[in-house]
Amino acid sequence: MTEGHQVLFFIALLPFIGALLPGLMIRAGRTACASFTAVPTALALVMLLTLAPAVLRGEVVQAEVEWLPQLGLSLSFFVDGLGLLFACMILGVGLLITLYARFYLSSADPMGQFYTYLLLFQGAMLGIVISDNILLMLIFWELTSLASFLLIGYWKHLPEGRQGARMALAVTGGGGLALIGGMLILGDIAGSYSLTEILQQGEAIRASDWYLPALILILLGAFTKSAQFPFHFWLPHAMAAPTPVSAYLHSATMVKAGVFLMARLWPVLAGTDAWFYIVATTGLVTMVLGALIALFKDDLKALLAFSTVSHLGLLTMLLGFGTQAAAVAAVFHIINHLTFKAALFMTAGIIDHETHTRDIKRLGGLRHLMPVTFAIGTVAALSMAGIPFFNGFLSKEMMLEEASHTGWAGSAYAVPVLATLGALLSVAYSLRFIGHVFLGPVRDDYPHKPHDPPFGMWAAPALLAVLVVLIGVMPFLAEGIVTAAASAVTGTDLQPYLKIWHGFTPALWMSIIAVIGGAVLLLLHRPLDRIWISAPRPEAKPIFDGIVTGAAALSRRVAEGTHNGAISRYLAIFVTASVALGAVAFSGSGLSEPTRQLLPVPAVVAVGWLMLIVATVAVVTMHHQRFRALVLVGIIGLSISAGFVYLSAPDLALTQISVETVTIMLLLLALHYLPKTTPKESPLGMKIRDGLIALAAGGGVGALAYAFLFRDIDTISDYHLANAYEGGGGTNVVNVILVDFRGYDTYGEIIVLGIAGLVIYALMHALLDGPAARRLKNSDYTHNRSRDRHPMMMVVATRVLLPIAAVVGIYIFLRGHNQPGGGFVAGLVVAIAILMQYMASGFAWTEARQRIEYHTMIGVGIVVAGLTGAGSWLAGRPFLTSAYTYINLPPIEEFELATAMIFDLGVFLTVLGAVMLMLYSLSRIARHSGETVNTEPMDYDPAERSTQSGAES
C-alpha cells in the first residue's frame, strides 16, 4: 500500500472549492462560467490520472487525517481499481456535461446556480467513491441526495420539477436513513469504520447474528438510490430535471451509487443465500419490468429512464449472482452503460432542444434533418440493444453467459429465460428509439423545424459514441481498468479477457433470440401499445402521493392536537410532567439518614422569611394590579439579597441587589406602555387547576430542598478552596472560580448576555420600523404627566452621585479578586449610576454626552476577555490560564496584578454595555411616542399645563 498521497485531499476538495466559482464567474458571461466550472473538474481528473498507473498495478492509494477520532470518523480517502473507475467516470462525464450544458441551458436559466449545484453534486459523488471511512461516505451519500434535489428542482417554476425533486429526496433520503443504520451495524460488527479494515473481515461479518439486519438496511439504501423495484418510481419523475442533469445524475453517476455500494461491499456481504435471493431477484425483476415499461413510454426521456432502471437491475442482478465472472461482467457493463446511456440522454436533449418535443409519437424522420444526431443516437442505441461491434453487446453476452448457468430455487430455467426476456425487451425499445424517432418519413408538423445543433452541443455525445465503437471493436482497450476494478470488487487478482467472439455458447443463442424477438416485438408495437394503454396497471405516483398526504395529515392531526397555540396549556403540561417525574424519582429511592445539624433561626431571619412569604402570596393574589405586584417583587428580591448576606454569600448579595434594581427599572419602563391592570378572565376551574399544579410544584421543590439540606455531599469545591490563592492568586474564591477555574463558562455567559442586549436592540429597531411605531405616535403621551419632568433636586443629586458611584464601581471591580465584588457587580453598579442620569436628566441630554456606543462596549468586552484567554496560548498553556504577580509601588501598599483581572475587565465592559443597551432600547420607545426632547438637564414645561387644562375644559 502506498501511504500519504495528499493529492487525494485536493481531488476530494476541488469540486467543493470550485463550486464557489460559477456563481461569481457568471458575471463574466456564460462561456466564462462554463470554463471555470470545467477547470476544477479537469484539474481533479488530471490529479487522479497521475495516480492511475499505480492503481492499475494493483496498489491502493491512501490518505488520512483524523477528524473526530472519538467517533471513529476520520477524513480518510483511498483509491483502488473500483474507486478509480468511478472517479474517472464522475469527473470525465462531468467535463462532458459541463460542455453540453453550456449549450443546452437557455439564456433565461440561471447558469451560475446550475454549475454550482453540479459541482456540489460532483464533489459529493466523488466523496462516496473515494471515502475510506464509512461514516464519511454516509455524509457524502446524503450530500448527493441533497444536491440531486437541487438539480432536479432546478426549474423551480415547473411543478413536475418540484414534485420530482421532493419524491427523489423522500425515497433516496429514506433509503439513506436505512443505510446509516446498516453501516453502523456493519462498523459495529467489524469493530472499525474504516472500509479497508471492514473489507478484511468478510468471514466474521457473514457469520454474525447481525448480518441479515445489516444486509437488509444497506440494501435498502442501495436499492433506493439505484432505483430498484419497488423503489424504481422516483427515477422517471426525476426526469423533470434539465437533460444534462438526467444524463449525469440519472444515468451515469448518482443512480450508480447504489451499484457502487453493492460492489464495494461485495467481498463482505456477497456469497450468502440471503444476498443471492434478495439482490439477484430484485435485479432480475427490475431488469424485466423496467424494460417492459420502457417499451411503451412515448416520452423519450421516460423511455431512457426506464431503460436505465432496467440496466441498473441488470447490474444488481450480476452482483447478486455472487460469482467472480459475474462481478467482471458488472464492472464492464458499468462502463458500457455509462457511455451509451449518457450519449442517448444527450441525444434526447438535443432532439428536445431542436424540435421542442420529446414525444416519440410526434417525431420520426429526423435522420434527414439531423444527420449528426442520427448517427450518434443510432450508435448508442444499437449498443444499448446489444448488437455486435458495439460495447453493449460484449457485456450483455457476459451477462447472458452468467445467467445461463444460474439456478434459482431449484429451477435451472427461471433466470436464463427471464434474462433473455429482459434482453429481448431491451432490443425492442432500443430499436424503437431509432425507428420511431429517426427513421420513417419526414413529417411536416414538428413543433419546431429541427436541424443539427452547434458543434459544442453534439461534441460530448459524439465522443461517447466513439468510445462505444472503440470498446465494441477493440475490447482489450478497457481490459486494464476492468481488471483493476473487478479485482478490487472481488478482492482477488483476476485476469479477465474481454473478447467479441466466444464461440457458439448458450449466450450467443440467447442473444440471437433476443435480437430477433425484439425486432418482431417492435413490428407489433402498435397493437401492443393499444393493449398496454387499455390495461389497468398501478401507477406509482398516486400511491406515493397518497402515502405522503396520509402522513402529512396524520402529523398535522398530532401536531394540532397537542400544539394548539395555548402556551399556558403547554406550560401546565410541562410542569405537571416534571412534577410527576420528580415524584417517581423521589419515591423510588429510599432516603439516607440525615447527617447535618439544623442551624438556629434568629428572630431577624424569621421576620425576613415572613416578609418574603407574605410578599409572594400577595404578588399571586394581587397580580392584577401590576404596579403593586412589581413593588412586591422588589421586596422579594431584597429579602433574598439579605438572605445571601446572612448565609455567607456576599458576592451573591451584591449581584442580586444590583440586578434587582435594574430589573425593576426595566419592568417599570415596560409597564409604562403596557396595560396597568390584568383583566380577571380565568374561570374558577382554571384557577383551581393552576393552583393545584403550582402547589404540587412548590411542594415538590421545597421538599427536595429540605431533603438535601439535611444531608452532606461530596463536593469538588475543596480543590477550589485549596488552589484559589496559589493557583489563581485571589482570596475571593467565588471570583477566582468565575474568572479562572470556570473562566470558560463565564466567557460563554458574557457572550450570551451581549447577544441578549443586541437582540433587544435589534427587536426594538424592527418594532420602531413597523406599525407599532405609528401606534406609538398616536398614543396619548401627554396624558397625566408631571410638568416637572426632570426635577432639579434629582438632577443635582444624581450628578453628584455619578462620580461617587463610578468610584464605588471601580473599587468593587478592583477588590473583586480578593474581596466580594468583581466585574459582574461593578458593571451593574456603573450601569445604575448612568441610568440615574437618564432618569434624572433626560435621555437626550445624557445621550449627547455619551462618548462610547454600547454596542462597542459589548464587543470590546468580549474581545478583551477572549484575547486574555488566548494570551495564555502564547505561554503554551490552555485557554484562560491565569498568571499573576505582586507589584510594589512605594506610595501604595503592595498589590496584585493578575491576567484574570483583564478578563474581569472584559466581563465588566460586556455587562455594562449589555445592561445599558437593553434599557436604552426601551427608552427609545418613549422618544417615538412623542416625548419632547429636552436640551436642558432641568426641564420644566409650562406648556403642559395649558394643553392639559385645555383638554379638561
Partner: protein, 121 residues
Amino acid sequence: MEFIIASAIGVLTAGGTYLILRLRTFPVILGLALLSYAVNVFLFASGRLAIDMAPILSKYGDPSYTDPLPQALVLTAIVISFGMTAVLVLIGLGAFLEAESDRIDMDRGESDSDQNKDAAQ
C-alpha cells in the same frame, strides 16, 4: 434555618408556577422572575447552608468556608436571568404594541386558517 430556606423555595416556586400559567404577558414575566429566584436559591442551597463562613480566604481565624462553587454558578445565573427577563419583556412589549393585545395564547381560528393556507401551497 433549613426549613426557612426550603419553604421559601417552595413558596416562590408555587407562586411563580401559578403566575406563568396566567394568560397575559406581564404576570407570566413576574412568574418567571419568581421562578428565577426560586431556582437561584435552590442552586445556592445545594452547597448547603453556612453562617459566617464566606468563601473569602483568610489568614486568620477558623479556616472553614462554605461551598463557593454553587455561589459562582448562581452569580452568573442571576445576571443571565436578568438578560432573559429583559428579552422577554421586550418581546411581550413588542407583541402588545403590534397586536394591541398582551394575551400569550394564540388565536385559534386565525392560526388554523394560516396552517391550511400553508398546506395548500
